[in-house]
């Protein structure tokens, strides 16, 4: 981990905001490392999860919000389940992702594009439409589908639909997204 000069860069507002949005008290973390020990994703993280916790305590807003770890956390709930101080660590990771989004950071663009494609599929169809989602993901990332080998395995099983699901109340679902956007603008 790089050395940070906390006297210069401590952002008290950031710490408060994370606590407000997550309902967790950051100072309760005493850096035992249990969360990291159980986190299956440490091998792809730039900052292990206990270091994220430490960096939040130290008010290191930019370093935290730029971190790739936020986008690679699968919300597997292992950290939350095992924290001896009952800190809902996975919830904090979620809240940090929300803040990263709002601040325009997306250091793992493929993951963000995948999630965004999924949500627009839900917004438009009321339910997730897998093939539509893939097409939109490919369009967003410009990456060709790297799973071509799976086609022959899955297509004959009749598990993928080529037309969107037919859901009557899909306008209602669209309205949820629209109202959410209006509320967030306030």
């Amino acid at each position: 981990m790089e050395i940070v000069n906390i006297t210069k860069s401590y952002d008290a507002n950031f710490v408060r905001q994370v606590e407000d949005e997550s309902g967790q008290i950051m100072s309760q973390c005493y850096q035992c490392g249990n969360c990291t020990a159980g986190c299956p994703y440490t091998f792809v993280y730039d900052q292990p999860v206990n270091q994220i916790m430490r960096l939040v305590q130290a008010g290191q807003k930019e370093t935290v919000l730029k971190s790739k770890s936020l986008w690679l956390c699968a919300t597997c709930e292992s950290c939350t389940t095992r924290c001896p101080n009952n800190i809902d660590v996975a919830h904090i990771m979620d809240v940090l992702r929300h803040m990263a989004r709002r601040n325009g950071y997306s250091p793992v663009p493929t993951v963000k594009s995948f999630w965004d494609s999924f949500l627009s599929s839900v917004e438009n169809n009321g339910r997730a439409f897998e093939i539509g989602l893939l097409v939109s993901y490919i369009a967003k990332t410009g990456r060709f589908w790297t799973d071509l080998d799976l086609g022959p395995k899955i297509l004959p099983k009749g598990k993928m639909h080529f037309t969107p699901p037919n859901m009557q109340g899909k306008e209602e679902v669209k309205k949820i997204f629209n109202r959410f956007r209006e509320e967030s603008r306030k």
């Binding site: 292992s78 995948f114 949500l119 949820i176 509320e183």
Partner: protein, 296 residues
Amino acid sequence: MSDSLTYAYYPGCSGTGTSIEYDMSTRAICAELGITLTDIPDWSCCGSTPAHTVDHTLSSALSARNLALVEKMDLDTAITPCPSCLTNLKTATHRMEKDVFREKVNNLLDTPYQGGVATKSVLQILVEDMGVKALKDKTVKPLKGLKVAAYYGCIMNRPPEVMNFDDPEHPMAMDNILTALGATVLPFPLKVECCGASFGIPRKDIVMNLSGKLLDAAKDIGADALATACPLCQMNLDLRQDQINSSGGTNYDIPVFYYTQLIGLALGLSEKKLGIDKLCVSPRKVINAIGRDEAS
């Protein structure tokens, strides 16, 4: 709990597509066991992981729309086979106990949700409402000789305050059911480890690594098959098993059943009804060996 086991049923998006055999086998065993499932009319997606990574109010609203529909059905319990849907339904229920949050969520909905619905997994009602003994009594084809590892995935039981079922580190519901049905359930050390979740498309390397470890452990303990309770886990382990083999230089050939399919086989239901033909890694050898004398 009423004597007639009747529930509002939430199939979830994958249940109509990539995990159709989970949905088929769930419906088939429930019918056989006298459990009535009434589909939530016009249910919508719970938002899965992507919604809660954007915003908690949005995520809960997507779940709450469905819970409000259940309230209209006059049923008190909604059940789903999918742990990811379950997490969203349960988390929404949990957070909406707070008035301020409930109001924020209801502001996004056409029909507000009052908060009167209990949410459970199909697995939970099988062990708690039906009971392992009742399942055992209905067994016509014991799973004798089948050595299986029960894999729960990461979120079926965690965090315990929200999921409120079984043990967060050593869940036993599937182990107990499969044992009662006559299978040999092996102690599986990774029963709640993450399989790589939905990273298969954006970061395949993660799934290759994490699901690879699960297959490795299953092989190590001598499992003939895995039993799963989650559509994503099943897909990562079964559909991607060849990819895992190529990336890790392995040659696993381990069928990955939904636990409901195994229950169905023990109840004597046809393979067709259970969607056995939808599995990618062929379970033929394993199924044929069930019930055979060990010595032969």
